[in-house]
Amino acid sequence: MKGKKEIIVATVVVAGVLLTLFFYLMGTGEIELNQIVLVGIALILVGLAMYIIWDKIRNVQKGLPGKDERTISMSHKAGYYGFIAAIWSAVFTPLFFDVSSGYEPDGGDVSAIVVLVSAFVFIVSYLYFYWKGK
């Protein structure tokens, strides 16, 4: 069935992310505020992704395609906004840390922030187009 493969892959990815977060938290001795924020954003992303997957599963069960012209167009538009967010987050992350705390983030911090911010913008704009009917 059209889109069934994507649903399976997305479910496996979500399960993988949840498992990684679980092991990450288990491996950390004392949980600090920045870790809570990071894991919180990741959990929000997982929650929103699960909603999209659940909706697709519902469509497939009804006999509708899991992926059609409209969802592809929505993904492309949301991806475009995600890309813009990735550029700006890469440029402004060091500036933000410098102004707010004086702490200089390393490469790993910047890549985590870029991935999280752009993924967040992607999912939020995808849901916006989805609910708006664009």
């Binding site: 991806g79 890309f83 813009i84 990735a86 490469g107 790993g108 910047v110 890549s111 752009s118 993924a119």
Partner: protein, 130 residues
């Protein structure tokens, strides 16, 4: 975005001179000094080519946009976003191992972002039907 056939050489010239050259310079000052002049020549050549194409296409002052060009923008943004995410994750690990400075890391990912966006845009634009 208003990118046309004549804008590509201009964009490549800007990326080459204001992103790729400083990125190389950030990693090695010696190589950076050596590539300065050749990069300047290529920069000027690309700008001239861009202007010639823009004049030929009658798009020097105004770029013509339609549904297809908007679609090309979205496709290029979408695919370069995926490429960027992959690159940022991989280079994040490498940056931690090889102890890149923050400035080196940022300029590297911004260069790759703009370069991938331009290349994908060019690919989809010249592909014809998308």
């Amino acid at each position: 975005m208003k990118i046309s056939r004549g804008t590509y050489p201009l964009l490549f010239a800007l990326i080459l001179f204001f992103l790729i050259r400083p990125t190389i310079e950030e990693f090695s000052k010696e190589i950076g000094r050596q590539i300065n002049f050749p990069f300047l020549i290529v920069f000027v050549i690309l700008i001239v080519i861009g202007f010639i194409i823009a004049i030929k296409d009658k798009e020097l002052l105004k770029t013509i946009t339609d549904e297809r060009t908007k679609k090309v923008d979205r496709f290029a943004g979408y695919y370069s976003w995926w490429f960027t995410l992959f690159f940022v994750v991989v280079s994040g690990f490498i940056a931690d191992i090889r102890n890149f400075t923050l400035h080196q890391f940022i300029i590297m990912i911004v260069t790759v972002m703009f370069l991938s966006m331009t290349l994908f845009h060019m690919y989809f634009n010249f592909k014809g039907e998308i």
